[in-house]
């Protein structure tokens, strides 16, 4: 890094626009800036840091003030605060072999009483180095970069870390503090870490760890894994369920077959036991009941018939006899009646007849009457009723009618009885009710059982079908998930690999870091000892210099190898030690940073000053900004330094206006106007 130019506008004591060309050459690395105490040397140093780092800059004038207050107070008292102040710093940086030209403009102004606005504008010429030969001044083609402007703080950190800058920009006070061994340790530590790249290794390790930590499966992938897991479980469950269902179906099928066989057996047994006949039993029994009823009816008719004159049929001959008797009795009665009539009529006839015939006729009539009387006479008289004969006639009719009817009824009864016997026989053929009933019930139960098993079997089959479909679905889903899973797994393996290798790399880096640290420290020890011995007046006082790798403390040893108590060193010697520390650091870092050294020669005796001027300033770096009072670099020293000086400036302070302006030249160099 090489500072090219700094322009101050209304900054601090600097009134108006003040510019300093800071470009140096290889052979003339020094820019000598002279100024009396209070002229603004430190302000210039502050301005460089402020331009680069803004609020993070460790400005000497800031103290404990807030950044805003500091900026507000940094505006020149004479200037218009609403127009504000501005610092423009131009510098070149070589990155990857190409020199870039940067211009950073930091300006701020107040608007109103309280608010303060600050702007950072960065301009860059990326191709500067290819056009400009080293050491020749070529006008840069600067372009405003919005990205750089907005992210300047980050960018400058990558170009020149603040930690590093704080080492390369130093003043007498810092050197004073570095002269304290305790304070030196922390500077050494931070310097080694940041300036010498150990912190980069550390950062790399941290980054790797961050990378490693980032290399987890994303939530989605985790979710996918979970899903696959769940689906695998589901498929297993479905598999098991299907197997179970199939087993169940098979079992039910065998149960069904068994039940059907049992049913067949039962059917056969039922048939054998006359089951069918039993089924007809009700019919037969109904028929039987009907026949019985018919028979009973017929019988009741017969009973009715029996109540009639039928018994008299048995007495046919008696009735015949009775009829004869009745005839006789009737005849007798009639004869008896006729006989009286005839006697009267005979008498009447006889009275009419002549006597001569009278006797003969009378004899004949008496004979007739006697005959008639004989017929009227009865051997047996049953004193039968005169109705007996008609009754007998009526009886004959009734008997013949009843007889026909009886024959009919008997025939019917016989048929019914026959039928009944038939039915009884059939009923007798019907098996014992209880026995068949048991089988029938068993058969019916079995029928129901078969139906139930058929239903169950069907259910099982449909269940199996459903589970098959489900399994298919789950399998397809799982297949898809598996494909994703494979990808995820690949990634997971990758992640694992990354973690493994980053772990390895981190270990390596740690070792590397340790090695680097040791190497740097040993190089620093050497460089610092060389610097110290170069600067020291008392050659041989310090023979060895050690830096502790853990505590970064300096240990000096004398020629005998005995440690030297820092208390034994003089203030000047401690200051030289501090300078040699900074120098050593710069040497180890590679001499490519500008060194700004502010009032470095206080407390030093003339011999030491000579050493610094002769042996340090021209070699400290490619660019050394030397801020000095006329006492520090006096005319004698200027003469010794002159051959290495590229530019000289004097900061001229006007005590009446309290403003500083920059004038070319140094007090004793040509063309320099003297102090007002």
């Amino acid at each position: 890094m090489l500072l090219r130019k700094i322009t101050l506008e209304e900054f601090g004591a600097y009134r108006g626009t003040q510019s300093l060309d800071l470009t140096t050459k290889k052979s003339k690395p020094i820019v000598l800036i002279g100024g009396l105490n209070g002229c603004g040397k430190t302000t210039l140093l502050d301005a460089i840091q402020l331009a680069l780092y803004g609020p993070r800059a460790r400005c000497s004038g800031r103290g404990s003030k807030s950044y805003e207050t500091y900026l507000r107070e940094s505006i020149n008292r004479e200037a218009d605060p609403t127009r504000g102040a501005q610092i423009i710093l131009e510098f070149t940086v070589t990155v990857d072999g190409t020199e870039h030209y940067y211009k950073v403009v930091r300006s701020w102004h107040t608007s109103g009483k309280t608010t303060l606005k600050e702007f950072v504008n960065a301009f860059v010429d990326e191709e500067y180095g290819s056009r400009a030969k080293p050491g020749r001044h070529v006008a840069p083609e600067l372009k405003y970069s919005r990205v750089l402007s907005q992210e300047w703080a980050d960018h400058i950190e990558s170009l020149l870390p603040l930690e590093v800058a704080s080492l390369s920009f130093f003043d007498g006070e810092k050197i004073e503090s570095l002269a304290d061994p305790e304070r030196a340790a922390s500077v050494i530590e931070s310097a080694i870490h940041s300036l010498l790249g150990v912190s980069t290794v550390q950062q790399l390790r941290t980054d790797l760890l961050a990378l490693q930590r980032r290399q987890k499966l994303s939530e989605e992938e985790q979710h996918l894994m979970d899903k696959i897991h769940a689906e695998e479980q589901e498929r297993q469950a479905a598999d098991a369920a299907l197997e179970n269902a199939e087993q169940q179906a098979a079992q039910r099928n065998s149960e069904l077959v068994k039940a059907r066989r049992t049913l067949e057996t039962l059917e056969a047994a039922y048939k054998q036991e006359g089951g069918n006949l039993f089924e007809r039993r009700v019919e037969i029994e109904r028929d039987y009941a009907q026949v019985c009823a018919r028979l009973a009816e017929t019988r009741s008719y017969l009973v009715q018939l029996a109540a009639g004159p039928l018994p008299l049929l048995m007495l046919g001959s008696h009735l015949k006899e009775l009829r004869k008797q009745a005839d006789r009795e009737r005849t007798a009665a009639e004869s008896h009646q006729v006989l009286g009539v005839l006697e009267e009529r005979d008498q009447w006839l006889l009275d009419m007849l002549p006597a001569e015939t009278k006797t003969a006729v009378m004899e004949k009539l008496e004979a007739d009457r006697a005959k008639r009387a004989k017929s009227a006479g009865l051997t047996v008289d049953l004193e039968l009723s005169p109705d007996t004969l008609p009754q007998l006639s009526a009886l004959d009719e009734a008997l013949s009618r009843d007889k026909t009817r009886a024959a009919e009824l008997l025939k019917q009864a016989a048929e019914a009885a026959e039928e009944r016997v038939q039915l009884e026989r059939q009923l007798a053929g019907v098996p014992a009710k209880s026995k068949v009933e048991a089988i029938q019930k068993e058969r019916e139960d079995q029928l129901q059982e078969v139906a139930r098993l058929e239903r169950e079997h069907e259910n099982s089959l449909s269940n199996v079908e459903e589970l098959k479909r489900r399994l298919e679905y789950v399998s397809a889903s799982l297949q898809r998930a598996h494909e994703e899973f494979v990808r995820t797994k690949v990634k997971a393996e990758e992640v694992e690999r990354i973690i493994k290798y980053s772990e390895k790399a981190r270990k390596t880096l740690e070792q590397f870091g340790d090695a680097l640290l040791k190497r740097h420290i040993s190089r620093l020890e050497v460089a610092m000892l060389t610097s110290f011995q170069t600067l020291m007046r008392k050659q041989g006082l310090v023979n060895d210099l050690r830096i502790d790798t853990d505590k970064f403390t300096l240990t000096l040893a004398d020629a005998d190898g005995e440690p030297i108590d820092p208390g034994r060193l003089s203030a000047g010697e401690r200051q030289l030690l501090a300078v040699s520390l900074l120098w050593g650091l710069m040497k180890v870092a590679g001499n490519h940073l500008p060194n700004v050294i502010d009032t470095p020669l206080g407390r030093l005796d003339s011999r030491h000053r000579e050493h610094l001027v002769d042996r340090y300033f021209p070699y400290a770096s490619d660019q050394v900004l030397l801020l000095s009072t006329d006492e520090e670099i006096d005319e004698y020293l200027l003469g010794r330094l002159k051959k290495s000086v590229a530019h000289t400036y004097t900061l001229v302070h006007d005590d009446t206006t309290f403003t500083t302006s920059v004038v070319e030249g140094y007090w004793w160099s040509a063309g320099a106007s003297h102090v007002a």
Partner: protein, 126 residues
């Protein structure tokens, strides 16, 4: 008409009770008529001459004989004469009692006659 009431012997009553069940004829008088007819049809003279009518079964002649009372009376008188008895009321009554008792005995003695078909068949198929 001197035949007032007809009373049965206990043995006759028991037999008739059974016959009432087997034949389905529920009336005493109907059975008695059949019994009388049976006995009258037998020309032989009943051996038993005295019957103790000691049961509680009793019926009037009218109940016994029904619509054919004159004929039954005539038949009884005829039997008295045939048996060499004056057909007096007393003899007719005695004859009735004796034949009734014998006829009831006949009724129970024939197995087929214990059913109505047998009873009627015995007369109707002749």
């Amino acid at each position: 008409m001197s035949l007032e009431n007809i009373r049965l012997a206990t043995a006759s009553k028991d037999r008739l009770s059974r016959l009432k069940r087997t034949t389905g004829i529920t009336q005493w008088n109907v059975l008695c008529r059949w019994a009388l007819a049976l006995s009258l049809a037998d020309a032989s003279t009943p051996l038993v001459r005295e019957v103790v009518t000691d049961s509680n079964v009793e019926m009037s002649w009218k109940t016994f004989a029904g619509p054919h009372g004159d004929l039954y009376l005539a038949l009884l008188k005829q039997r008295c004469v045939a048996d060499g008895l004056e057909p007096t009321d007393e003899n007719v009554s005695k004859t009735l009692t004796i034949h009734l008792a014998r006829g009831i005995g006949y009724l129970g003695a024939h197995k087929e006659m214990t059913a109505i078909e047998g009873l009627i068949g015995a007369v109707a198929t002749v």
